[in-house]
């Protein structure tokens, strides 16, 4: 193992430490997980529950001419079925975030009258066993009338068949963003680099646990309990309540352990609605397990995006003045979270660079492929890949060193906080220093010698850099930039900290962790504030909306726990600490200033012998409160705090305003060796440098960096949701959708710096989504390796061996088309 950490090793929690924050406290979650005692959604069982199996479309685009479920329902052991027609009568179509005309989409939990992608759910069958449910699903008779599918976003306009007659067009959203003075920038330029077409491919994070749910309906109260693994119940509730014609509180979401999410477990509201309807219709609990193939065919693909007719204005020394591009986003068949991706990229509009003049004409179209939804790096990854590609193409065309071009154009640490051309504020960071650390880790000083050595072995060595901004804690007001009618803005998260009757400290979070280990940093923050040990703090596992410790935006997504989650935890713990001191002051007869919280008690600083243990505090307030002074009336020792980041609504006219609170940073450097005979390449050296401000648990942060890197390397080389011209998914399982296995994992060196955020309660920044840097780095490394070997321009984010071979064989056809114009 070659993991290097530049910052000094930290002591473990059991060793005495000034604060628990900053320590590598072993995770509280792990004890149950390493014993197989975690509770994941598919582990939840109920007496008499039925198993759901979905009948899915074999066609990418077809009218449904008839559906006959009679044979299925006659099969012994079958409890019942649900069809699109029933859904259409029992529910409202899902609320659309889009403005006209896409706002007219009629999106139901099951296909109604038409199917729009292979794998779309048409009928749900419920039976006594999993096997029977699938047997019965084979007896459902459906007749189709196929329509020509659209599988290429570039063919979605003009006279192409329309997916959604209700919208009358395949264009789901379009808008132009212009900041600065493009004409001046291009006038000032020495050269204009023109790039015909860049393509960011379709994949997602394939969490190892697929989606699922167990739904129960309480006929007496009309309330559903949904045991699931949805990572953003706040969003699911907003979608499901109106659809099911019920209040939000009728939908109780319960999760405990979730087997990874990465954004892919946000948009399960259609499946959850089916579960709810069936639990009510069949008068029994129903269980849904999404199988791996189902997930690949239908769940939350990451946005596929084209960048067309890009023009970059540069000076001869590589100074970047501005760019224009036409972004064409392929969102698949439905808008399940989209078109938010049409604006979220602009959190990082200039990437990490100082250019002030930017124009992006953004168009999002529907195609007959799985719907796109959030995925680690959501929408920013695509845009940052674009800016990184541009940097390396500019360097290539001007024959400059990509390192120099980056350093010349990176936003500088002395410019922080830095306002971007569109009003976002980069809070802190030192990109150039991070790049130096990364280069140092891969021994950049000797790169030429290594290039020569590789050449001697018949290999082509390439070095590539990927820079990523991980914008976190987003301002939901950005939704108004795509639809001014939307009434969302700001952000919030909740935590409740209480001191119970026997002195236990219990924390309830609003977040929905999927492996981030929230129980641990939460305990670290609370123990520092309450002066107790990390082990004294109990954090409830998972999420339950009936704990009343959540808000509208509660969930775990978009890199924000360290800010919103821990911000709420700190707020609640501070409130509790103040109440304990007030109680202590009354009982111990000392002024509050004279008190401190230490060793699980409130005590007098100068005379620690005089102390009131937490157990006594809990007992007094909860069970022995007669004769307490009136001014302690509001002391409950049960403190709920809602953290709200300081946000304004952006200027909708200028598309201008701060869209996220923090900007964590990752810079990756990859060194690869290409076998020119086959296009096969090995990553021989790799460094990931991270800066996410103050780190509460550095090892958890490093884990996020390494994990996100692995996902990126898989996406760069193997992972792709590829469709044939008929809209069949060619990679519906882990055979053809190859994710990195143990042997595929290259040596990984990590380093970090800490640039505390001036805007957050703990100086932390949300992080976890910066791994996209790996994709950028591999693309750059491949292009570098081909230098002097055809000099192909890497124009696609997906570079499997055969693609690299084609770049070597036919650099002109397989590579990107770039031209340089002297301005």
């Amino acid at each position: 193992m070659t993991s290097t950490t530049i910052t000094p090793e930290r002591v473990e929690s059991d060793a005495p430490a000034a604060t628990q924050k900053g320590q590598n406290v072993p995770r509280k979650e792990d004890r149950r997980l390493v014993q197989g005692e975690g509770i994941f959604v598919d582990d939840v069982k109920r007496h008499g529950m039925g198993y759901i199996h979905f009948v899915r479309s074999p066609y990418a685009h077809a009218h449904i001419t008839s559906i006959d479920v009679s044979k299925a329902e006659e099969l012994p052991g079958v409890y019942g079925t649900l069809t699109g027609e029933e859904v259409a009568s029992l529910t409202e179509p899902f609320f659309q975030l889009a403005r006209e005309p896409a706002s007219h989409l009629q999106d139901y939990a099951l296909a109604v009258g038409k199917v729009r992608f292979v794998g779309e759910s048409i009928v749900a069958v419920v039976a006594e066993t999993r096997e029977l449910a699938r047997d019965a699903s084979e007896l459902v008779e459906i007749e189709y009338d196929p329509i020509a599918p659209i599988v290429d976003a570039r063919m979605a306009q003009g006279d192409a068949p329309v997916l959604h007659d209700d919208a009358g067009t395949n264009v789901m959203w379009e808008g132009s963003f212009e900041w600065g003075d493009l004409d001046a920038a291009f006038a000032e330029a020495d050269k204009i680099i023109k790039i015909d077409e860049l393509h960011f491919h379709r994949f997602n994070s394939t969490p190892l646990e697929t989606n699922g749910a167990l739904a129960e309906f309480n006929r007496g109260t009309g309330q559903w309990t949904i045991h699931c693994n949805n990572q953003f119940p706040g969003f699911a509730a907003i979608m499901m309540g109106p659809a099911l014609r019920c209040g939000i509180d009728k939908l109780r979401f319960v999760t405990q352990d979730i087997g990874g999410g990465f954004g892919n477990k946000i948009t399960t509201h259609p499946q959850l609605v089916v579960c709810c309807l069936l639990a009510r219709k069949l008068r029994r609990p129903v269980q849904w397990t999404e199988w791996r193939t189902d997930f690949h065919m239908s769940m939350s693909h990451a946005n596929e995006r084209w960048f067309l007719d890009t023009e970059v204005a540069v000076k001869n020394d590589g100074t970047l003045l501005g760019f224009r591009t036409k972004a064409l986003d392929d969102t698949g068949a439905w808008l399940r979270y989209e078109p938010l991706g049409c604006i979220i990229w602009s959190q990082v509009a200039p990437g990490m660079y100082r250019w002030r003049n930017i124009r992006v004409d953004f168009t999002q179209v529907a195609t007959n492929k799985a719907p796109c939804s959030p995925n680690r790096g959501y929408s920013r990854m695509q845009h940052l890949w674009f800016t990184e590609r541009v940097i390396d193409i500019v360097a290539h065309e001007l024959d400059l060193d990509p390192v120099d071009v980056r350093k010349l154009n990176y936003v500088r640490s002395d410019e922080m906080p830095y306002e971007t051309p569109n009003g976002c504020v980069y809070d802190s960071g030192d990109y150039a220093r991070m790049l130096d650390l990364g280069l140092e880790l891969v021994d950049y000083a000797n790169i030429d010698a290594r290039r020569a050595d590789a050449k001697a072995r018949g290999k082509l060595l390439g070095l590539g850099i990927g820079s990523t901004l991980d914008s976190g804690t987003n301002n939901f007001a950005q939704s108004q930039l795509i639809n001014s009618d939307l009434q969302f803005s700001g952000n919030n998260e909740v935590a409740t900290v209480k001191l119970d009757i026997f002195g236990e400290i219990v924390v309830t979070l609003g977040t929905v962790p999927q492996g981030q280990g929230h129980e641990t940093p939460t305990s670290q923050v609370v123990s520092d504030i309450l002066g107790c040990s990390v082990d004294d703090v109990q954090v409830r596992a998972g999420h339950d909306s009936y704990w009343n410790s959540h808000a509208g935006f509660s969930g775990t997504y978009a890199s924000q726990f360290a800010v919103t989650g821990l911000g709420a935890v700190k707020g609640a713990a501070d409130l509790l600490a103040a109440q304990i001191k007030r109680l202590g002051s009354a009982v111990l007869g000392a002024p509050i200033e004279a008190l401190e919280l230490a060793e699980g008690s409130v005590r007098i600083k100068d005379n620690p012998e005089v102390a009131l243990p937490f157990m006594a505090c809990g007992a007094i307030i909860n069970a022995n409160n007669a004769g307490l002074p009136d001014d302690l009336e509001d002391v409950t020792l049960n403190c709920r705090y809602v953290y709200k980041p300081p946000f304004q609504v952006p200027d909708l006219e200028r598309n201008f305003g701060n869209l996220t609170l923090t900007y964590a940073t990752q810079i990756h450097v990859a060194v690869i060796e290409v076998d020119p005979e086959t296009g096969y390449y090995d990553i021989v050296d790799y460094a990931a440098v991270d800066d996410c401000g103050k780190r509460i648990n550095p090892r958890i942060v490093e884990g996020q960096v390494m994990g996100a890197t692995a996902l990126a390397l898989g996406a760069a080389t193997w992972e792709i949701y590829a469709y044939d011209e008929d809209g069949n998914l060619l990679t519906p399982n882990f055979y053809d959708y190859h994710v990195p296995h143990a042997l595929d994992m290259p040596p990984l060196k990590t380093a970090d710096i800490e640039s505390p955020s001036p805007f957050t309660p703990l100086g932390t920044k949300g992080m976890g989504e910066g791994g996209g840097a790996g994709i950028h780095a591999i693309c750059a490394a491949v292009q570098d390796a081909l230098r002097g070997n055809g000099d192909a321009i890497v124009a696609d984010s997906h570079n499997p061996y055969h693609k690299v071979w084609e770049l070597l064989e036919h650099p002109a056809e397989a590579g990107g088309h770039v031209s340089v114009v002297n301005a």
């Binding site: 074999p58 008929d726 069949n728 519906p732």
Partner: protein
């Protein structure tokens, strides 16, 4: 996926044409036919179990002759429906006299949809080639039989 080829039969063109347009003898050329119904000269249906070694793939096949120019050209539309698999195939053949026999140019566009389709992509092409080869040699046998019988 598109496949095409050319084959020469040691038989006069009308004999070949006859076989190609006789559902009964065509049935004998198709892999894994279990039952076969002739609705009229243009439409036949069959239940087949395409032998795939690991357990056959059951399909109901519906064949329609969509174009015919005797004795040289015909086009067929073939739709197959099985659990988890949908087959759509358009095939055509063109006959011409070759020295001492008949040359047949054939072409087919094969589309396999559904979960099995996705699963099978990896091996679809070799399997199709192999089934086509099977059909053509069976066809050859039928033609020879017809010639022998006819003589």
């Amino acid at each position: 996926m598109n496949v095409s080829g050319e084959r020469t039969f040691a038989a006069p063109r009308d004999a070949v044409w006859k076989v190609l347009n006789d559902p009964a003898s065509m049935a004998k050329t198709m892999p894994g036919v279990q039952s076969f119904d002739i609705h009229d000269a243009e439409r036949w249906t069959a239940n087949v179990k395409i032998p795939l070694g690991l357990g056959g793939l059951k399909m109901q096949i519906d064949m329609n002759k969509t174009e015919e120019r005797a004795p040289e050209f015909a086009k067929l539309q073939i739709k197959g429906k099985g659990v988890g698999a949908m087959l759509n195939m358009e095939t055509s053949f063109e006959l011409s006299d070759a020295d001492g026999g008949t040359a047949m140019k054939w072409a087919a566009e094969v589309k396999l949809a559904g979960p099995v389709g996705s699963m099978g992509q990896r091996v679809l092409q070799p399997i199709v080639n192999q089934q086509v080869e099977h059909v053509l040699s069976a066809l050859d046998r039928e033609v020879q039989a017809a010639v022998a019988g006819g003589a």
